[in-house]
């Protein structure tokens, strides 16, 4: 884990290369986090991966969260890991929810971290976050014809009727 001072150093170094890419940092419960501009997330990840002295070459986890009612609403977390120094660093891209039916978009990091493939699909599946440039962005756990983004906070729990044989023809998603 970089400490609070180390985190500010990383932020300053990124700011030299990519101004405005890291608007904020946070250091809570001993975990360091960079909050990045969603348009520059790939540049930041590439910098963190390839710069000598950083080399966060392992992506442990990629997941999304819905911060409703906060704005911007969505966060995509990249849990990076440097295995030599045993340091974790979280990168969080915060994305606003576009108006209407449009879906929030973010660049896919599959080129940089192939490990993100399934996990980006999962974030798309449950939050409707579109990863631009993902090779195969389909739903992964839910059925292909599913409508809605169930892990969003405004999607109700139990909002979906349970399928039985007696109601399967009336319910969306069932075989009619």
């Amino acid at each position: 884990m970089p400490d609070a001072a180390g985190l500010e150093l990383i932020r300053a170094e990124i700011a030299e290369k990519h101004p405005g890419a890291v608007p904020a940092t946070s250091f809570e419960h001993g975990q360091a986090m960079l909050v990045v501009d969603p348009e520059q997330v790939l540049e930041v990840l590439r910098w963190l991966r390839d710069t000598p002295g950083q080399e966060y070459r392992f992506l442990s986890s990629l997941h999304a969260a819905d911060y409703l009612p906060a704005e911007p609403r969505f966060g995509v977390h990249y849990e990076l890991l440097n295995r030599d120094r045993v340091e974790r660093l979280r990168v969080k891209a915060v994305i606003a929810d576009p108006p209407g039916e449009e879906l929030p978009e973010l660049d896919s990091c599959v080129e940089l971290y192939p490990a993100a493939d399934f996990q980006e699909r999962e974030a798309y599946d449950f939050f409707g976050i579109v990863f631009r440039g993902h090779p195969d962005l389909r739903r992964i756990l839910l059925p292909d014809d599913y409508v809605g983004w169930p892990q969003r906070r405004d999607f109700p729990v139990g909002g979906e009727p349970v399928l039985f044989t007696h109601n399967e023809h009336e319910t969306a998603g069932g075989d009619s």
Binding site: R57, S61, E79, R83, P114, A116, L141, Q151, R153
Partner: protein
Amino acid sequence: MSTLEETAAGVREALPGSEVQLERATEVMTINIGPHHPATHGVLRLVVQLEGEVVRDLYPVIGYVHTGIEKSCEDKSYWKVIPFVERMDYVSYYFQMEAFCGAVERLVELQIPERAKALRVIHLELNRIHSHLVWLGTTALDLGAISMLWYCFRERDKILDLFEMSGGQRMHTRYFQVGGVIEDVPLGWEQKLRRFIADMPVRVEQYMALLDRNEIFLNRTRNTGVVPRDRLLELGVTGPLLRAAGEPWDLRKVFDYLGYGRYDFRIPIGTVGDNYDRYRVRLAEMVESVRIIEQALDGLPEGPFIADDRKYVLPPRSELSTSMESLIHHFKLVTEGYRVPPGELYYAIEGPRGELGCFVLADGSAKPARVHFRDSSFVNLQAFRDMCVGGYVADMIASLGMLDPILGGTDR
């Protein structure tokens, strides 16, 4: 070959002008395996492109046992989430509990007593052996060694007996609580556990005696499913799969949670990274787990088994009839639950299949705003294509067994 050419010559002679192809015509066929197939270890569907017996491409289709656990967790107070998360990866339930409880403990900055740490380590390592036994039994079954299943499940049953004795349930025990464990282990448990750990290394030797010189087993596992170490790291693969490829990476060693740093154990690694190495690594891990349990049991500290913080931990049952304050705490904790200050945290532990991470987002209420599990089977499954393409379809079944995915964990 000569007969084929002779036949062709005969045909050309009999039917002048006709074309005779000596090359075997192959076509790529798409085969669907699963979701209900005994060799897929759960409800996994594989869409495989076969050219004859050779796998040319494949992709896994998952989600058949998706039950929306992560969403359901958002509707439950923190202590009610524990039984939910246990049911994700149903063979490593103690690990799910530890990942979630550990994350919440770190969010509320609650220290857990030393005895609770040791008891957790013992149960986690028992669970690791249990998980590897389920893996060994079913995988050997896939490879034709039917008797292995009975031997492995015999030892697994002893572990389940121990779980039943300490937590009241054989599976999904809800034994770990935020702050420690729910109950101290009962009298006689230690003796029973000592008998088990004295027995287990001998059993592992017996398994090896059965499999290590079995020619069928060796032929089917050696040099199959090899993926280079760098590629595994790229794909985010962790756990025994990565260690079998020669990378000594184990979160228990590097992150020192639950006091793992004080135990003396080794990280078994392989050299080639084939299915045989994966098998050897897991068997060696069982023996190492026994060593950890032995040390934890010898050094089991006296003292409380759960933290004494009434804000988060239920007061002892005996106090309820004498102390008004305890009754109020009990009532508040059971009805509303405790509030967790806003924050987010990722806590990763070494599960039997690799890095098991839990991300918890707290919004200040008594319910988590997001619980996400970084399930190791889910991420490891990405390497399956690399393990199988170019090999035979029979090796694909062996590789799938050695990958050891638990579909309850991938689908959540």
